[in-house]
Symmetry: C2
Subunit: 337 residues, 2 copies
């Protein structure tokens, strides 16, 4: 089943079939209708591979994420796809599993499929791989990674603002001993969040100590372990800020396992605002990272770059996270007496 058979049945040339499929203006409504009926009758579906080959554009955008198992990402994927579909494009999703070797595979998949652009929502990516794309003129957009070259856009999350809001909320509740559970330190985004935390402490006049910080892995398990270590310190913190919601959820588990209560004994704040955080017990206070907006900006950055005849130098968008207060934060224990 191919365009030729459709052409024969509709008594036109293959070019005309192609034109009607692609919505070209220069086809008489009547012939277009005849073609459409033929397509219908034969239940014909144009071969995407042939299309891409012929036209030189795949109408495919790559989306690289690090862990599809972290609810943050499916929500991002969904938003990205929704927008892409609106623009008649498709999405190829690939996860790196936080692994450099898999990242390499992801990149080669993208290259082989001749994607029209790639959104890299994992912060780790070595320059050699970036080059593979930019040397081929493939637009790129990063989340949080500060590279700015021709054809490379960047989405910058204002971590300081988000973390500051969280810290201010806690200090306002009387907390002076605030700990932080980081993500994996090899991730730039995790390092950014950590840095924002340290700086925020300073701004709030709270002395920073290394013992305040424990490393997690952006998963529940890592948050759980980090929290356990934190609870072993002589001076138990009264509040925890986690680098993402998954870590916070793991931390809350550890807290209640030790017979302590959130928020009575310890307050917890997450980061991301994944859907499930509204349903934890207690509901998690968190800093919201708006996925829809990130997805929209990322897609537009790629789309605009690819469309424009002279690719712009690469643009930068800023995302402002916002604090969402739920039930996992409360007054510092000392104030409760």
């Amino acid at each position: 089943m191919n365009i030729k058979e459709v052409a024969r049945l509709a008594r036109v040339s293959t070019a005309t079939v192609s034109r009607t499929i692609n919505g070209s203006e220069k086809v008489t409504p009547e012939t277009a209708e005849r073609v459409r009926r033929a397509i219908e009758e034969l239940r014909f579906f144009p071969n995407t591979n042939a299309r891409a080959l012929g036209s030189g554009r795949s109408s495919l955008y790559g989306l690289i994420i690090s862990d599809i198992t972290n609810p943050f990402f499916p929500e991002l994927v969904k938003s990205f796809e929704d927008i892409a579909v609106q623009y008649g494009q498709e999405v190829l999703v690939a996860n790196t599993d936080y692994d450099a070797a898999r990242m390499e595979i992801c990149v080669s998949r993208m290259l082989q499929r001749k994607v029209d652009g790639v959104a890299i929502m994992t912060s780790e990516m070595d320059e050699r791989l970036v080059d593979e794309f930019s040397s081929r003129g493939i637009p790129l957009v990063f989340l949080d990674t500060g590279i700015l070259q021709k054809g490379i856009s960047n989405i910058v999350v204002d971590y300081p603002a988000g973390i500051d809001a969280a810290v201010a909320h806690l200090t306002g509740l009387g907390h002076t001993s605030i700990s932080f559970i980081t993500g994996p330190m090899r991730l730039a985004s995790a390092r950014s969040r950590r840095r924002a935390f340290i700086e925020s402490l300073e701004r709030n006049g709270i002395p920073m100590e290394d013992s305040l910080i424990e490393e997690g892995d952006h998963r529940m398990e890592g948050g759980h372990h980090a929290m356990k270590r934190l609870l072993e310190h002589k001076h138990r913190p009264t509040a925890i800020l986690a680098s993402n919601d998954m870590s916070a959820i793991g931390a809350m588990g550890a807290i209640s396992e030790l017979g302590l209560s959130v928020p009575v004994d310890i307050s917890v704040i997450g980061f991301d605002n994944i859907a499930i955080s509204a349903y934890t017990q207690p509901a998690l206070s968190t800093v919201s990272l708006p996925r829809k907006e990130i997805a929209r900006q990322a897609f537009r950055a790629l789309y605009d770059t690819y469309q424009s005849p002279a690719p712009p130098a690469g643009s930068e968008y800023t995302i402002a996270p916002t604090l969402i207060i739920r039930k996992s934060t409360g007054p510092a224990p000392a104030l409760r007496r």
Copy 2:
């Protein structure tokens, strides 16, 4: 950049380049090495589209799911992809969002990309669409949907066994008033679970009443609402079985919102065993639906069918869920005095 340039640099024909790429035996190790170096030097990546066009096989499998936002699915997607990669295949994921119109779009995407097979992990799919695939000889595998034709395989989950284990666990704890939160009734899988529940009640000698069952939507929100309705009944149930973990999590939220406690006042059991269920407060007892096994069976069904010259009639695999007891279930309140 194409195979021709590689051929020129390696001083061979394009055919030889093609052969070495595809690991053909009949290439002298020396020439193969030369070709490989040329590929490396030019950073050449074979064009997937051209490959698929020429060879007639896309090495692509479709995976249709209903809601990527439900953690059950990402875990399934991941397992499926891992296996596919092992076999040198790729995966095209599409979600229907429980929507018939989107299902239609998913199907046409699959058809246009000329996938070598499709795993349909959504239970709803009308026969006309099934026909689009089978008339083209594309292998299909369903989860839970009992169609058995040439080239169509089926993965059957033994719901009765899983639900029975859960109900037995509850009756063993003294519960006699057990409610059920269903999934959306238009889903076959949700209906299967509901039926299994009703039959299990009978087997356990518990009278079935309509007021015992409330409909959710397989999301937290639906579980939340369903639970609220359940709590308004005069005879409050002492135990809840939910059609999936997301519903159970929503239900637990509703319970604690009303000042009740799990498992002291009400026991809750979920279904699926998504990763997060181990980290809820209290940790959720649930019936585990092994994603890895489902993914493996699904992939093998497609792969074997596609490989074999004479497609088998379609096979059937059974998956046995297992009960996992955590902290959300306890003795019925009456027994506590």
